[in-house]
């Protein structure tokens, strides 16, 4: 009787606690690599702390944040971040939808094409950026050469605000469009063909079917990719950093014309060694990212069938 009781209790324990055990590895790893760094960053952001002299750090509470709010270069960097977010995220999703639509047809060697669109994503971001920086070179860049053929003259891509943002956006869009296209493609294949058949019988054109059936049914995926793209594009670092190699890389151009918030964080932390200030940038950037992702969610949530 006692033995029975023990087994039963054990069974109850098992069903009660085992699920926690199963999800524990994720939370442990998240705790070590996600939560701890986040809390630590917040803690550092309240200090006046040199990167190389952590022992000499002093608590200054919100002084870093006060300085940040009055720092024109921080606002410049935030403006560049939002501009690049818009220039990367919107085209990325539109192109991805379009490419997924193309790939969702019966074409020869379509597996090859489907594999092909993911290629830019698995190449190293450093290599991609270095190549693109050459393509956008002022004197010997391919892009300027083509523009010159059409008589458009040469553009110093790094020098201007708009031109540098466009060049960086091209790199990001090129790299991530295929990834999003594959997500869209997978969901498109799950849309029952009867919907399209019925629409065809009702006389709906291909364009109408795309915007009235495909896009509304992809709504959850569009929300997902918008959030993923937003979190990625709000912290662009490698592209603007490597677009302007050399000793001045961290300033993002001669007049900080393409310095993103993440790059400003990098400059403050790793060239000025102001670890506290750079952590406060990280915190503000994280909060802004959540807000922008929320906005993206609200916009994409409005997609619906009429």
């Amino acid at each position: 009787m006692i033995l029975m009781d023990k087994t039963a209790r054990r069974h109850r324990w098992d069903t009660k606690f085992a699920p926690y055990g199963y999800v524990a590895p994720y939370f442990l790893i998240f705790g070590v690599f996600g939560l701890f760094p986040l809390l630590y960053t917040i803690w550092v952001s309240l200090q006046d702390r040199n990167l190389l002299e952590s022992d000499a750090a002093t608590f200054v509470w919100f002084a870093n944040y006060a300085k940040l709010m009055a720092d024109p270069y921080f606002w410049n960097a935030m403006g560049n971040t939002l501009s690049l977010w818009l220039l990367t995220t919107v085209p990325q999703i539109l192109f991805a939808l379009f490419i997924a639509q193309l790939l969702n047809r019966k074409v020869r060697t379509r597996t090859l094409f489907r594999m092909g669109v993911i290629l830019p994503n698995i190449t190293s971001v450093a290599a991609v950026t270095i190549i693109f920086a050459q393509l956008f070179g002022r004197d010997f860049g391919l892009v300027n050469w083509v523009l010159d053929l059409f008589g458009a003259g040469q553009i110093d891509w790094q020098a201007g605000t708009a031109s540098s943002h466009i060049a960086i956006a091209v790199m990001v869009v090129w790299r991530w469009t295929g990834y999003h296209a594959l997500i869209f493609l997978a969901s498109m294949q799950a849309i029952p063909s009867t919907l399209y058949e019925a629409a065809t019988l009702d006389g709906a054109s291909g364009r109408q079917q795309f915007w009235r059936i495909t896009v509304p049914l992809l709504r959850p995926q569009i929300i997902f990719t918008t959030i993923i793209a937003t979190t990625g594009n709000m912290r662009l670092l490698a592209e603007p950093l490597l677009f302007n190699p050399g000793a001045a890389a961290a300033t993002g151009g001669s007049d900080r014309q393409f310095q993103t918030a993440a790059l400003y964080l990098y400059e403050q932390g790793f060239t000025k060694y102001d670890f506290g200030y750079s952590s406060s940038i990280a915190v503000v950037l994280a909060i802004t990212t959540v807000v922008v992702a929320g906005l993206g969610y609200l916009v994409t949530k409005r997609i619906r069938t009429e």
Partner: protein, 418 residues
């Protein structure tokens, strides 16, 4: 029982994941492994082989990164006290930042450095000495200053190509710009007089008696008339179309050497190795070297430091001392053109009489040792490297037509006062 075991297992897994990031270099076959972190071209490849051959118990691997990556990585590694090489090279532009935290490095004075002190130029030794008298690095080279120029391009524009005659064109920087305007009238298509404003400006700054800082570490560049005059002169040169508008040490600047986009470039001694690497064998004999306008000055030069986090600091100190010893510096001068920081060598005939075949047999030994003897050391403040970057950005704003000289100067002065 089971859930508990599972949790334990997970904890073990997580710990393993964390710990695997901290694996240590295990010596293979009883050998001591030393790593040396460099940037650019130190000319050490042969020397390291030589050292390893003479010391069978030591295995050396070197890693080379770009100038800015190297120093930023070093800062990150020092901050976390892990990942730094056993020996790390540090440039003049960064040494002041690092010597502000001397406790991250081995004090070489405690490892026999004070005995070696007299090897170096006194200002080189002081350059890496912390305020409390700790020596964090052994000096490798000094920059010195000269001008490298393309003989063929000068000739094509109707200017002399002979070294002495070229030097006679530009006793001062004003003359240098005037010669540039003459050059530009008949210059081959697409060729400019100099590579970029920031490069020329760095040389002028290097010659000034006071640089960005005064000796009390106060930033005085805003009131420095000497530097402002140099700034105005370079701005005028840029606006007269003399500049290729390329920023030094960038890929486009490297391409500029290959394509022959500019006729002259400011040449600290270490620049010669870069030119040879970038312009390649097909440009051999086209380049030549002559003396710089203005007086003696310095730009760059480096130190070898030994971070405290290393596992074999004694062997590392030994290697750093060997690499910076007179015999080795003499070899590096001949192989890579880096100017020794050792005054004894400036009298050594094998150095003084050395001619560089790549640069049309220019007597670089005489040229640079003369320059080094004339050199008037300038005090470098804590963030001299950052200010150099900021003034380069400021000049680029003028070159890119984003601002005029006055506005850009004002913004620069405001930036560095922050």
């Amino acid at each position: 029982m089971r859930p508990k075991a599972l949790v334990l297992g997970c904890a073990a897994l997580a710990t393993a994941v964390v710990l695997s990031g901290c694996g240590s270099d295990t010596a293979s076959g009883g050998k001591t492994k030393l790593t040396i972190g460099l940037f650019g071209n130190f000319g050490y490849a042969e020397l390291l082989k030589e050292y390893a051959a003479a010391h069978p118990d030591v295995e050396i691997s070197d890693r080379t990164a770009s100038y800015s990556d190297h120093h930023k990585n070093l800062a990150a590694h020092l901050a976390t006290s892990s990942g730094a090489a056993d020996i790390e090279a540090v440039d003049t532009g960064y040494i002041n930042q690092f010597k502000a935290t001397p406790d991250k490095f081995v004090d070489l004075n405690t490892k026999g450095g004070d005995q070696l002190k007299d090897r170096w130029l006194p200002w080189k030794w002081e350059g890496s000495l912390s305020k409390d008298g700790k020596q964090i690095g052994y000096g490798t080279d000094v920059g010195g200053l000269a001008i490298c120029y393309r003989r063929d391009l000068l000739q094509a524009a109707g200017l002399p190509a002979d070294r002495e005659q070229v030097a006679a064109l530009w006793p001062t920087w004003q003359d240098f710009m005037a010669a540039g305007k003459k050059f530009q009238e008949k210059a081959p298509e697409g060729v400019k007089w100099f590579d970029g404003g920031p490069t020329v400006l760095n040389a002028i700054v290097g010659q000034a008696s006071v640089g960005y800082y005064d000796k009390s570490d106060k930033i005085v560049v805003g009131e420095n008339k000497e530097i402002k005059a140099g700034w105005d002169l370079v701005v005028d040169g840029v606006q007269s179309g003399l500049s290729s508008k390329l920023l030094y040490s960038t890929p486009v600047w490297n391409t500029g050497f290959k394509q022959g986009q500019f006729a002259t470039v400011t040449c600290p001694a270490w620049q010669m190795a870069k030119i040879k690497d970038q312009a390649g064998p097909e440009a051999a004999g086209k380049w030549d070297v002559t003396s710089v306008p203005g007086g003696g000055g310095n730009w760059g030069g480096s130190y070898l430091t030994v971070p405290k986090s290393g596992k074999n600091v004694d062997k590392a100190v030994e290697l750093a001392a060997w690499l910076t010893a007179p015999e080795q510096q003499a070899k590096v001068f001949k192989s890579a053109g880096l100017l020794p920081s050792i005054p004894k060598l400036y009298e050594d005939p094998s150095i003084v009489d050395y001619k560089n075949p790549y640069f049309n047999d220019a007597p670089i030994g005489k040229l640079f040792t003369d320059a080094a003897k004339k050199l008037n050391p300038q005090y470098q403040g804590p963030k001299a490297g950052d200010i150099q970057t900021a003034i380069g950005n400021a000049m680029q704003r003028v070159e890119q037509g984003k601002q005029n000289g006055e506005d850009s100067w004002r913004q620069f002065v405001g930036d560095v006062q922050k």
